[in-house]
């Protein structure tokens, strides 16, 4: 019984409360009694309202504090209502500012001037409280929509950024993928050229990976790649980059490394992998995994006619040599001698 009663009494007020918005309003009018009447009405409906008596003061306050609603007079000394509207639209305020212009001016031309200046609504003076009350319904609806829209926008932007990041990371190895490489390499190359800094490209390929997959299954193959990436990531400095370039192929960009330095770094990684255990989950077994590496560097192997693509090709050829020479080793690309070629 008491439950029903409270239900019947509370429901409508609860709903209207959920609907009601408290607006932070600014009333701008050079006639103090008019401003006060508007402020009082807004406060009576549960909103908060401040009064200022000219456009300049209004503008200063608007830049400091967020207002959902501005009710402004048209004719004021200094910055008038039209100017105020234009400035409010010019400065990019966070959130939407709904502007109602109040004026003794009548007629379509004046209405259009007010709206073109950026007012959302236009009300004739003398001020009519009931009229403002009804017009506020529209204002509230638009303010609510605007805030929902900007919220949705923020969420979308966040999602987008997340997706952009995700789409450039290999989910298995948790390093950059081929797409990221295509996007970053030319910029990386240009930065190194501009700063006159060397860099090495290491092409690194798992030896007999197909055999490993065939013998122990693809799940284990994936586990090997995961573990391999962990070893490589832990061997790199923060200024180096690792990309999953192909199926079992990883490309490294080593900043500030000449050919010999890049070769040593590649060999350290090769040794580390060869001595790392690759345990098979649920068993005592662990496969012996090795990699072969081909190394090229800027400027030692650089040919300006083929650019960074030529360097990737040279590293790839060096990798091919390493495979042919018996695997589990590092080979460097042939030195590019521009003097010899041009001669």
């Amino acid at each position: 019984m008491s439950l029903l009663e409270s239900h019947g009494e509370n429901r409508p007020t609860l709903e209207s409360k959920a609907d009601a918005q408290v607006l932070n309003a600014l009333v701008v009018d050079d006639e103090p009694s008019v401003g006060r009447v508007v402020q009082r009405a807004l406060e009576a409906w549960g909103h908060t309202a401040k009064i200022v008596t000219d456009g300049r003061e209004a503008l200063q306050l608007i830049l400091k504090e967020r207002f959902d609603l501005v009710v402004t007079d048209w004719e004021m000394p200094g910055i008038d209502g039209l100017d105020l509207c234009r400035r409010i639209r010019e400065v990019r305020l966070p959130g939407y500012t709904y502007v109602i212009m109040l004026s003794v001016r009548r007629g379509k031309t004046n209405l259009m001037r007010g709206l073109s200046a950026g007012a959302d609504d236009f009300m004739a003076k003398p001020f009519d409280r009931e009229e403002l009350r009804v017009r506020l319904h529209t204002a509230e609806r638009i303010i609510r929509l605007e805030s929902k829209l900007s919220q949705a926008n923020d969420e979308l932007r966040g999602l987008n950024e997340g997706l952009l990041k995700k789409s450039r990371i290999d989910p298995l190895m948790e390093i950059n993928n081929r797409l990221a490489f295509e996007e970053q390499i030319s910029q990386f190359h240009e930065i190194c050229v501009e700063r006159e800094v060397a860099y090495g490209i290491v092409m690194c390929d798992v030896d007999h990976f197909k055999r490993l997959n065939d013998r122990f299954g693809h799940q284990y193959g994936d586990e090997v790649l995961r573990q391999l990436a962990r070893v490589i990531r832990s061997s790199l400095r923060s200024e180096d980059l690792a990309f999953r370039y192909g199926g079992e192929e990883i490309l490294l960009l080593l900043y500030r490394q000449h050919l010999d330095g890049a070769e040593r770094a590649a060999d350290r990684i090769r040794q580390k992998i060869a001595s790392s255990p690759f345990p098979m989950p649920g068993t005592e077994m662990s496969a012996h995994v090795t990699v072969s590496c081909g190394v090229a560097s800027y400027p030692e192997n650089f040919d300006s006619t083929t650019g960074w693509m030529g360097l990737v090709g040279s590293a790839d050829q060096a990798l091919y040599k390493a495979k042919n020479a018996g695997r589990n080793r590092v080979m460097t690309a042939e030195l590019y001698e521009s003097a010899a070629k041009t001669a």
Binding site: D30, E31, P32, S33, V34, R36, V37, R40, A41, A44, D73, E75, V104, K125, P126, F127, R129
Partner: protein, 118 residues
């Protein structure tokens, strides 16, 4: 108290006597300065300033229900804007007379309101 539309004043005051007196006081405090501007403008035969000053009084008067004052100020604003002629001292005199009535009306209204509620 024909000079004041009490119904309008009660309405904008939301039937709150205290607030009504506050509004009337705001209006009474504001008016002398505005009338001074108007007098000077008419004296100097400055049509633009006359229109602006008359406009300002029109709005303030309309707000508190001084309908006739609002109306004759509106007429002076119109004729000055149209620049048909230099602002006429006769129009100003009419406004002065109406203002005196409005001021008196406001006084009576305040007395009645305070004694009625007290």
């Amino acid at each position: 108290m024909g000079s004041i539309n009490v119904e309008r004043l009660r309405d904008v005051s939301m039937e709150d006597n205290e607030f009504m007196i506050e509004l009337v006081d705001l209006f009474l405090d504001d008016m002398p300065e505005q009338l001074d501007r108007l007098r000077k403008a008419v004296e100097q035969a400055d049509t633009d300033s006359t229109a602006k000053a008359a406009h300002r009084i029109k709005g303030a008067a309309g707000n508190v229900g001084a309908d006739r004052l609002s109306q004759i100020c509106g007429e002076l604003e119109q004729s000055s804007r149209a620049a048909e002629a230099a602002p006429s001292p006769a129009a100003l005199a009419e406004i002065e007379v109406e203002w005196a009535r409005v001021r008196e009306g406001c006084g009576v209204l305040k007395d009645e309101t305070t004694s009625g509620s007290g």
